[in-house]
């Protein structure tokens, strides 16, 4: 900018004779500035567009896979334990649900393994661990089923082993993957919505616009023509590209932030609560299978119940804090469902402790506790689905806001160079 001003001052001091040289110098400076603007604007556009595309194409599916792995495994455990309670005659629906869970987990592990990039060694290690453990887990569950079908107490021991493998090794790995991928998503999103580079680009654009304005006024004074059409076109190009860049950023950023605040953030809160509820459900069944009164599984149930809440700092409090979106249950509804289930569970425990083991088993299999749990789980899962849908649509439109932006910036800067050259060479021609 100061170089241009110096040139302009020199041109003025040099008088008429020096004007052609000054014009040539001006043209060179304007061309360099236009190209520089194109480079900075295109770079900025590219950075934001690729970060937004990353959110949609990699981070979002990965974190979705991670959430699904976590949830499917928890659901498989809860379902296997619950089905086991039915004795040799497992409910067919439970059997199908268990198999669907295993299939979903396997599919998601494979998908995530294919997508996870270099540098995500930790996630990769966890995924390898999960793919190795999954068939072992399934094998132990099948042994438990076979023994259960023969009416052997040994079946319960195999089920305890399967549950132990899942909750001590597999779920921590799944939880780890989820935490990593969620952090990845947050950082990709932060990159797409980050301010500094964009602010610098816009400041440079404004400066170039100012230079073009000053140049055309100087030219008007020295060549006694009111307007130079070339410089006007260049000015229009810089204004259009600036407005495009800024509005794309504002829209894209707004969409991506919305995706986070109304989508992935609340979905995560619902997913965490769902997994805790599933774990507690597995513990309820295992307590009845273990059948030794207040055992470690009932202890685990109470731990999960404390995690769920409601109350400050609990998972249900996070769920209640989620903004309302279409299709998601209200925080109050979820809390009521959870309370109803906890009450049913307490009644079940009292039944079991009072010598009513068969009645307690019935409650867990198809009675009050089973119904209450199903209501809670359905509510939480509809919350996950609804918020994930919001995330997907907002993140997609956030990414689309950056479409064509990079090319647009390059084209605009080339147009600026061309129009400056056209405008100034017409003035230069008058001196020949």
């Amino acid at each position: 900018m100061s170089a241009t001003a110096a040139l302009a001052r020199e041109a003025i001091r040099g008088g008429e004779r020096r004007t052609p040289d000054a014009l040539r110098g001006l043209l060179a400076v304007l061309a360099v500035l236009s190209l520089a603007w194109g480079a900075v604007a295109a770079l900025t556009a590219e950075q934001h567009a690729s970060a937004a595309a990353d959110v949609v194409a990699v981070s979002e599916p990965l974190s979705l896979d991670a959430e699904q792995i976590y949830q499917s495994l928890s659901d498989a455990e809860a379902t296997a334990a619950n089905a086991f309670l039915g004795g040799g005659l497992e409910p067919a629906a439970a059997r199908q649900r268990y198999q669907a869970d295993l299939a979903a987990a396997a599919k998601r592990i494979e998908a995530a393994s294919a997508m996870v990039g270099i540098g995500a060694a930790r996630t990769e290690g966890d995924l390898t661990k999960l793919s190795a453990d999954l068939p072992v887990y399934a094998g132990v569950v099948e042994t438990a089923r076979a023994d259960n079908r023969l009416g052997l107490p040994l079946g319960a021991a195999y089920l305890r082993q399967a549950s132990d493998l899942l909750s001590r090794q597999m779920l921590p790995a799944a939880s780890d993957i989820y935490a990593n991928e969620d952090a990845q998503l947050t950082s990709a999103s932060a990159q797409a919505t980050g301010l500094p580079l964009m602010v610098i680009a816009i400041l440079i654009g404004l400066a170039i616009g100012y230079v073009l304005l000053r140049t055309s006024r100087w030219l008007a004074r020295h060549t006694h023509r009111v307007l130079n059409p070339g410089l006007l076109v260049a000015l229009a190009a810089v204004v259009v590209s600036l407005v495009w860049l800024a509005s794309a950023f504002v829209i894209g950023r707004g969409d991506l932030l919305h995706a986070q605040q109304y989508g992935s953030g609340p979905a995560k809160a619902f997913a965490r609560a769902d997994v805790a509820a599933l774990q507690a459900h597995a513990d309820e069944s295992l307590t009845l299978i273990d059948n030794s009164g207040t055992d470690q599984y009932q202890g685990n149930f109470l731990t999960q119940q404390d995690l769920l809440g409601p109350g400050t700092g609990t998972l249900l409090a996070d769920v209640a804090a989620a903004p309302a979106v279409a299709g998601a249950p209200s925080g109050q509804a979820v809390t009521d469902d959870a309370r109803a289930w906890f009450t049913a569970h307490a009644a079940l425990r009292a039944q079991d402790a009072g010598g009513g083991h068969p009645a307690a088993v019935n409650s867990a299999l198809s009675g009050d506790s089973a119904t209450r749990f199903a209501a809670l789980s359905t509510a939480l899962e509809s919350g996950i689905t609804a918020h994930q849908a919001v995330f997907a649509s907002s993140a997609h439109s956030g990414r689309d806001a950056f479409t064509g932006l990079e090319i647009g910036m390059i084209v605009a800067s080339l147009a600026m160079v061309a129009s400056c050259a056209w405008g100034l060479t017409r003035r230069l021609a008058e001196y020949r």
């Binding site: 040994l154 083991h357 088993v361």
Partner: protein, 322 residues
């Protein structure tokens, strides 16, 4: 060094550093993957027990087979007795096993706890209420037997429980209702013929059971788990070489796996008694009265024939310390 050469040098150094870093990362990844994919076997929570302190400390001496209270006659619910308290409550609370086939196990077909131990409890309920069904069964682990009796959460424990002099200091026992002995269960292809042959190998027993002492004595490595069926899981998965405990329990495990066999001599004498809190000597005498009836009216023999099989031996004779 001039600028371009310095630049080139920097680039080469950087490239080399990146190459080394990538190689290290790949190698590390490979190592981690190997560790993750090999030698991973799912295991039940097993605890390798230290040599039980019981073995070394001076065990109190007593005549554990003749330590119980003599019944004053046929069982009668006298006013003010513990039996009257139980009767007022409406049901007897019994701490039992739910995973020992043929002694105390949850029958998956009818969801009822059944077995030889359970028959004893039903007989006591019948003597109190006139109805053998007035029982609340609490399935407890081996480890909880003494504690649950002492804190009053159960009235009586029928749980393949050996009368030992050490336990007699904490709880009372009925007269002996079953004579068991510690033996060893191995897979049918095992070449071991006794516990001593398993020196240095892992042998499973439940936490809190007195079988751990014999395992340690034979210089085998004791592995302890919550339930006996957990031991069978570990035997089937080759995580332990053998299971050693009372023949009664081992018979129940062998019945669930035809590819196992009992080996070796009777290592110990395990007289089973029903455990009752020390505050209730009246209940001990009452239970002994019930057991005496079972011995003489053929019910004991009927239970034995039903759960363990023929031939039926003579029931253990009742001996009393007082």
């Amino acid at each position: 060094m001039n600028a371009p050469r310095r630049l080139a040098h920097t680039a080469v150094t950087l490239a080399a550093a990146v190459a080394v870093a990538v190689a290290v990362a790949v190698a590390l990844g490979a190592v981690t993957a190997d560790a993750a994919s090999t030698g991973r076997v799912a295991k039940p929570a097993a605890v390798v027990a230290a040599r039980p302190a019981v073995a070394s400390s001076a065990a109190p001496s007593c005549n554990q087979k003749a330590s119980s209270i003599r019944p004053s006659g046929p069982p009668r619910v006298t006013a003010g007795s513990f039996m009257a308290t139980i009767k007022a409550r409406g049901y007897l609370i019994a701490g039992v096993d739910q995973s020992t086939y043929h002694f105390g196990f949850l029958n998956p077909l009818d969801k009822q706890i059944e077995g030889f131990d359970i028959d004893m409890i039903h007989a006591i309920a019948k003597a109190i209420f006139g109805d053998p069904g007035k029982v609340q069964f609490k399935a407890i682990s081996d480890n909880d037997r003494i504690g649950d009796i002492r804190n009053g959460s159960v009235d009586i424990v029928a749980h393949t429980m050996t009368i030992t002099c050490e336990r007699l200091q904490q709880v009372d026992f009925s007269s002996v209702y079953f004579d068991a002995a510690q033996r060893v269960l191995v897979q049918s292809n095992s070449t071991a013929t006794s516990l001593t042959a398993l020196r240095g190998q892992k042998v499973c027993a439940t936490k809190g059971s007195d079988s751990l002492g014999e395992i340690a004595k034979a210089n085998a490595i004791p592995v302890s788990v919550p339930y006996w069926t957990d031991c069978l899981v570990m035997l089937q998965q080759d995580q332990v070489a053998a299971i050693s405990t009372d023949d009664t329990i081992l018979d129940g495990l062998a019945a669930q796996d035809p590819f196992t066999k009992l080996i070796g001599p009777r290592l110990t004498d395990e007289p089973y008694g029903l455990a009752i809190a020390k505050q209730h000597p009246d209940f001990v005498a009452f239970v002994n009265g019930v057991l005496q009836q079972l011995r003489t009216d053929g019910q004991w023999a009927a239970s034995y024939a039903h759960w363990i099989g023929n031939p039926v031996p003579a029931p253990p004779p009742a001996q009393y310390g007082s």
